[in-house]
């Protein structure tokens, strides 16, 4: 069996007395799409943010291609330099896009290439243009975020991440802040990325995306990873009652 791209073992996270992640174990296979689903507050975003150590986990291990992230050895924090080095190869897309509003689309994408990868300005701009073309925004490169729709902003954010040539992409509810009619364009970009063999971890409420694009689906509730299975298994033959309840609520809310 192939080694995991991300190996999460016995991860725990507390916010004061609140136990946000409880002994979470999860293996992310390389080149595949893993969707994290579950009710709000179940810890799926927290888990995702632990993978690039934007959120510090308290115990357990998270390994990216075998290398422990955030800690030198369990219990001793990693240096900032090393952490930044690891983050370079992990792209992240946020619910609120988080583009830098004082830069154009192209500048947003080129920024990391210049300041982090150390590319020359012209080289960075060429790559930024390529990345923006890839997400279908060749004609919006000079626009500032305020002049882009939510869907376009999120596609710039995806371009910003993929321009860094990451080995792994994390998506934190990438479509939750979008108007319904703009969700499709973002999901299409993500599908294209998946078909290229990008390793992706996606926290999402888009059950359709999870069902059709994911290779594996993990269901979380109250900080626990309840089940990991194929989309088929999770959506059509859930083994746990909690999944059942979640899906029933989801269907009730989305049926008309």
């Amino acid at each position: 069996m192939q080694a995991s791209a991300v190996d999460i073992r016995k991860v725990n996270k507390y916010y004061g007395p609140f136990h946000a992640l409880k002994d979470v174990d999860l293996a992310i296979p390389p080149g595949k799409v893993t969707c994290l689903i579950g009710p709000s507050g179940s810890g799926k975003s927290t888990l995702l943010r632990c993978i690039n150590f934007l959120e510090e986990y308290d115990s357990g291990e998270i390994r990216i291609d075998g290398q422990l992230i955030g800690y030198e050895v369990p219990g001793r924090k990693m240096s900032g330099r090393k952490l930044r080095q690891m983050r370079r190869s992990i792209g992240m897309v946020f619910q609120q896009f988080n583009l830098w509003p004082h830069m154009t689309a192209k500048e947003n994408v080129a920024e990391g290439l210049i300041r982090v990868r150390g590319l020359s300005k012209s080289e960075a701009e060429t790559r930024a243009a390529e990345a923006l073309t890839k997400v279908g925004l060749a004609d919006k490169m000079g626009n500032h975020p305020a002049r882009l729709s939510g869907g376009q902003q999120q596609r710039v954010a995806i371009a910003r991440a993929i321009a860094m040539e990451p080995r792994l992409m994390l998506f934190d509810e990438p479509t939750s802040a979008l108007d319904p009619e703009l969700v499709g364009e973002v999901l299409n970009v993500m599908k294209a990325l998946a078909s290229e063999g990008m390793t992706m971890v996606v926290v999402t409420h888009e059950m359709g995306f999870a069902a059709h694009v994911a290779d594996q689906v993990a269901f979380m509730e109250k900080g626990e990873l309840v089940a990991v299975d194929s989309p088929q298994g999770i959506f059509h033959a859930p083994k746990d009652e909690r999944i059942w309840n979640f899906l029933r609520t989801y269907h009730e809310r989305n049926s008309f």
Partner: protein
Amino acid sequence: MEWSILEQYGPALLRGFGVTVLCWILGTIFGMALGLMIALIQRYGPRWLGWIIQAYIEVIRGTPFLVQLFVLYYGGPLIGLRLDALPAGLLGLTIYGSPYFAEIFRSGFRAVPHGQIEAARAIGMAEPTIVRRVLLPLGLVSSLPALVNFSIILTKETVILSIITVPELMYQVSRMSTETFRYLEANLVLALFFWALVETISRVGRRLETRITKHLIERT
């Protein structure tokens, strides 16, 4: 009203106004620079340094500028700080303005959405680069109206420098009034100069604001 005295005192008044503008510009620049440093140390520095700085802020904000200036100018020599009137005045203005500027920057930084800083961290950007490329540009934009406002307040604090004989406008106006007993004329001239200065600053400030927020405002 007796305006003919202006012929005699005009040049002195103009020189005084020049010194006032100089004090204001340098006091604002140095005060802002010190304030920015304070705000950055408060955000990134060690906690003990933050406490010392907080105490400094409380002391400076809690005492009148006049008192600070006296302490600096007349108390300074006791600890070997012997300054001429103008440098003492500039140092005084810098110190007086710094905690206000620091507070303005601090709240400006707080207005920068945390997500935009996280986005920079997520691609592996180093913290000093994040400050330079994300925190400062965005923080300054939200600080600008308050910065302009406080620098306008500072213009009028410069008159206090006349007490320690900095030859700025108020100093010249006082001299003119005591020598001629034309208090009203002298002070009307003073008012006119200040009004012109403040009006210019606020116009420039507004223009600057429109320019730098041009791209940040959503136009639909």
